[in-house]
């Protein structure tokens, strides 16, 4: 019991501490690929610390909701991230929310962030929120279809059970899983506001989505929102790793060596994921905002196709 609690606590701390590092790593790799020196790996931590120290400049028309939302979305995303198996499947509370609930928790965070974009009553906030919900309206069903595919293969929507099944030889090579993987990567890119859907590095461009929504935030509020964005990135990389690369995960009740192996492989997976993301982002141009529905529509269709294949025959 105590050991389980420790694993769960370690998981919560691990994602929280590693999240800015992953963001810093992606930035560094991107900079190196562009032959720039790039900021140091720990720059995101420094940014967070600096933002925390600064005072909050709150717009005159901001309401109490605007001040609550950073805490709310941080809490929701952190809860979601701590329920995804990262280094081990023996999470004490993993049964309290299955993958559908985790997706819905992220949906809650997005709902409130979009409200925050509308709260101050500026045109930039509105543009960000309206585009964010448009993107979500396609990304979320695509994600649910991916969950359906994986859940039908594993016979469960519990992430820990799914990971255990995916690690077992019973899973084999399947067409539907390949389709689901492609769709999941597309959704993850859109959900995290990465190129080609959105550009996390711009601040004054009409095509931006996420940055436009949070334009009015400053100080500790902005720090929380940045941390939440980093948590969301690590969460999606963890979901992909847990479903499609579940190797090295420590089983429930495993000893310390297995856990150490789990943590080491997890960090390795994050590095690979971050590197691939940076590579992808540097090799592609950002698309116009009304091309995004086509991109995500393709993800939705792939997800639906994968689910249909599963329904039609158990062997795909």
């Amino acid at each position: 019991m105590i050991a389980d609690l420790a694993v769960q606590g370690a998981q919560m701390l691990l994602v929280l501490l590693l999240a800015p590092l992953l963001t810093g790593f992606v930035r560094k790799v991107k900079a190196r690929l562009l032959r720039r020196q790039g900021p140091p790996l720990i720059q995101p931590y420094r940014d967070l610390a600096r933002l925390m120290r600064k005072e909050v400049v709150l717009a005159d028309s901001a309401s109490w909701l605007f001040r609550v939302i950073p805490y709310l979305i941080f809490a929701t995303t952190w809860v979601a991230a701590s329920l995804v198996p990262t280094f081990g499947t023996g999470l004490l509370f993993s049964w309290s929310a299955d993958l559908i609930a985790i997706i819905a928790l992220l949906g809650s965070a997005r709902f409130f962030l979009a409200l925050a974009g509308l709260d101050v009553g500026t045109s930039f906030g509105g543009i960000g929120s309206s585009r964010e919900v448009m993107i979500a309206s396609l990304a979320e069903p695509a994600m649910i279809m991916i969950v359906f595919t994986a859940a039908l293969i594993a016979g469960s929507t519990q992430l820990s059970t799914m990971a255990e099944f995916m690690a077992s030889p019973a899973v084999g090579l399947r067409v539907s899983l390949a389709l689901a993987l492609i769709a999941l990567i597309m959704v993850a890119i859109a959900e995290n506001g990465r190129i080609p859907v959105d550009n996390p590095a711009t601040h004054l461009e009409l095509t931006m989505v996420h940055e436009a929504m949070v334009l009015e935030y400053s100080g500790r509020h902005l720090a929380l929102i940045e941390l939440t964005a980093a948590l969301k990135l690590i969460l999606y990389v963890s979901i992909i790793a847990c479903l499609f690369a579940p190797w090295g995960l420590a089983a429930a009740g495993a000893g310390l060596p297995a856990l150490a192996v789990g943590i080491a492989t997890y960090i390795g997976k994050l590095a690979v994921g971050g590197f691939l993301l940076a590579l992808f982002e540097t090799s592609i141009a950002k698309m116009r905002v009304f091309r995004v529905p086509e991109f995500l529509g393709a993800a939705l269709m792939l997800g639906l196709l994968a689910t249909l294949l599963r329904f039609v025959s158990g062997s795909f």
Binding site: G107, V120, S137, L152
Partner: protein, 669 residues
């Protein structure tokens, strides 16, 4: 005993109507009628919940009214008790709300008599145990709600709404009448008990299913029979809108469940394809329609269509599973549908109350004239936010639980052997997922434009917080939304007798798992614990807040909005409801509504402003109802000539008709 109490309550409500007519003009009438409704519905609610929770045996009684050879059969079984709880809870909350809201009514004499009559009508529909009583109560419910829709009859839109409502309600009742006729057979077996024993053939059953879908579906708002709903629901006073949208549509669902699951008997698997297809279309169309609206009450009414779709997806899956004898899966889908019935009645009433509070405070229903109400009406804004989050299916609130259960039911459907369903169910699952995401977008828009931002008109800037009765009703419903969300097991257990009665199985007892988690099948398969998720969220949010305020800066300065350095002082530069929906309109609306945007640029020298014009077409209205209406109009014009015949021509006409009828009879036999 329980049935007597419930019937006495219905009788008290019926008696309240003439009393309201008599005292309607006195200022004490409003508090008296609503106060009495509060007490009566509370008693009825207690009786019905006691019956449901104790899983008591069905109670029946035959009253010597109605058809002389039939009498009025009334029965309280698990299904009636559950829907009675929904009706009474909604009615109780609406009556409490109306204690405050009703004081602003400009024409109380047009509302007060019909309000208790409407409540009594809905109560009697769910209690009826023969076709005659059912149909009479159904019509009574329709007509009293029609009178309430027409209470502000000088508004031209309301007259049109009332007219279309009356037409659709009559059409729906006609379909139900025919459906009951088929079930009763040539022997005229009008009581439900005799119908249950009759076991019609699959073809006849399918015909009854279609008639029930038309009859009950038109009342519930199934696409394409939904056209009256977004017109009529917002036209009524807000507490009645809440009842019509939150409760009366559920009575329609009751009608469907009673006929299809109870009276028809064992379903054939292919029936569910029709139900699932219509439900899937209804879900997505409803939310897309809602997204295009900028009238707050109409948006809510359209959104009811979406939720009815979700309920019917659950019912369709339950039919499919039940037809294949998968009783456990059928119970899961059926429970999901019933829980969504309950949940929707909670949050839709809450949201309509909120819209009513906004209407009283500002005199506006159009969101484009609102904004910034969170500063002026903080309590209403808070509960409305809970309602929005609940209806958008966000954990840890109640809307998520029923959608999650529906998803779990979809995930069980590869067990279904029939190919049609194998292809149908994933598509319906995708539509459900799509509608869930669109619903969140819809309520970000509704809440963000109405309550957040800066006030767009002086009326919005001068709004004041609503009265304590209205707030009490809204807080009650918001608390229930949270309660069902974090302790869903208790409510699901209460539904066990209903699903055991209708689909021959029920979900396992839900209070056994640790931390009251919801475990539909097995913990390794899927589980969800709203309580724990809620606790975690509160805990980590508090932790973050405490840590940041202890360790980091807690200084705060108010300043003008930044807006990338170009703040505009005019609130007209904010995003409006129409502009918020623009990306989604472009993605979905260009197909579904043939939506087009074009700029209107005045010629040089003309000082009119340039405008962006959005054309949206309701294709269902254009393709189905407009030709139908014009066809009827043309036919009426042609037949009009028959009024101006001479007496000889009339006599010839009668003679010819007689000859033709006699010929038909001769050939027929």
């Amino acid at each position: 005993m329980t049935l007597t109490i419930v019937l006495a309550c219905a009788a008290a409500l019926l008696a309240l109507a003439p009393i309201a007519v008599m005292i309607g003009r006195s200022p004490a009438a409003t508090p008296f009628v609503y106060g009495a409704s509060v007490i009566v519905t509370a008693v009825s609610l207690a009786a019905a919940s006691a019956h449901l929770l104790s899983a008591a045996a069905p109670l029946g009684v035959t009253l010597p009214v109605g058809l002389p050879w039939l009498g009025a059969h009334l029965r309280l079984d698990a299904l009636s008790a559950f829907f009675l709880v929904v009706v009474d809870l909604g009615a109780f909350a609406a009556s409490v709300f109306a204690l405050g809201y009703g004081a602003h009514e400009t024409a109380p004499t047009r509302v007060l008599p019909f309000y208790p009559a409407f409540l009594a009508g809905m109560t009697l529909v769910v209690l009826a145990d023969d076709a005659f009583t059912f149909l009479v109560s159904w019509e009574f419910m329709s007509l009293s709600s029609w009178a309430l829709v027409m209470s502000h009859h000088r508004v031209p839109d309301n007259v049109r709404a009332g007219y279309i409502y009356l037409l659709m309600a009559s059409f729906g009742t006609l379909a139900l009448l025919l459906g009951f006729g088929l079930l009763a057979g040539p022997g005229g077996l009008y009581t439900f008990e005799q119908m249950r024993a009759a076991h019609p053939s699959a073809m006849l059953g399918a015909l009854v299913l279609i008639l029930a879908l038309i009859g009950a579906g038109s009342k519930a708002g199934i696409v394409p029979l939904h056209v009256w709903l977004p017109l009529a629901h917002p036209a009524a006073p807000s507490h009645v809108s809440a009842l019509m949208s939150g409760v009366m549509t559920k009575v329609a669902v009751y009608g469907f469940v009673r006929i299809v699951f109870d009276l028809v008997g064992h379903p054939a698997w292919w029936w569910s394809i029709l139900v699932l297809a219509l439900a899937g279309i209804t879900t997505v169309m409803g939310v897309l329609y809602a997204l295009m609206q900028h009238d707050l009450k109409r948006l809510l009414a359209y959104h009811t269509v979406e939720n009815i779709g979700i309920i019917f997806i659950g019912l369709g899956l339950a039919l499919a599973f039940a037809a294949h004898g998968l009783n456990f899966a059928a119970a899961l889908a059926f429970t999901a549908a019933l829980l969504h019935v309950f949940n929707h009645s909670l949050f839709k009433s809450l949201l309509f109350f909120g819209a009513g509070a906004v209407l009283t405070a500002t005199g506006e229903r159009d969101m484009e004239h609102l904004g910034g109400l969170i500063h002026r009406m903080p309590r209403t804004a808070f509960v409305f936010l809970i309602g929005c989050a609940a209806i958008s299916a966000l954990p840890p609130l109640n809307g998520f639980v029923s959608e999650w259960l529906t998803f779990q039911a979809v995930l069980l459907s590869p067990q279904l052997p029939s190919w049609g369903l194998k292809l149908m169910v994933p598509a319906v699952g995708a539509l459900l997922a799509l509608s869930a995401a669109l619903a969140a977008a819809c309520f970000v828009k509704a809440y963000g434009v109405t309550f957040l931002g800066r006030p767009r008109t002086p009326a919005a800037a001068a709004a004041t917080e609503t009265d304590p009765f209205s707030l009490a009703a809204m807080f009650l419903l918001a608390a229930l939304c949270l309660l069902v969300g974090i302790l869903p097991g208790l409510f699901i257990n209460a539904l066990a007798p209903v699903s055991a009665m209708l689909v021959g199985g029920h979900m396992p007892e839900q209070t056994g798992a640790q931390w009251l988690a919801l475990v539909p099948i097995a913990e390794s398969r899927s589980s969800y614990d709203g309580l724990l998720v809620f606790l975690f969220m509160v805990l980590s949010g508090t932790l973050a807040a405490v840590a940041i305020h202890r360790l980091a800066s807690d200084r705060l300065r108010r300043a003008p909005a930044w807006d990338c350095g170009y703040p505009d002082a005019s609130p007209a530069t904010q995003y409006t409801a129409t502009s918020f929906a623009q990306p989604i309109r472009r993605v979905f609306g260009s197909v579904v509504f043939a939506a087009r945007e074009h700029g209107e640029m005045p010629p040089p020298g003309d000082v009119r402003p340039a405008r962006l014009v959005v054309d949206i077409h309701d294709l269902i209205w254009d393709a189905l109802y407009a030709p139908l209406a014009s066809g009827i109009g043309i036919a009426a014009d042609r037949l009009n000539r028959l009024q101006f015949l001479t007496i000889r021509q009339f006599l010839t006409l009668v003679f010819c008709t007689l000859v033709i009828l006699l010929l038909v009879l001769a050939i027929w036999s």
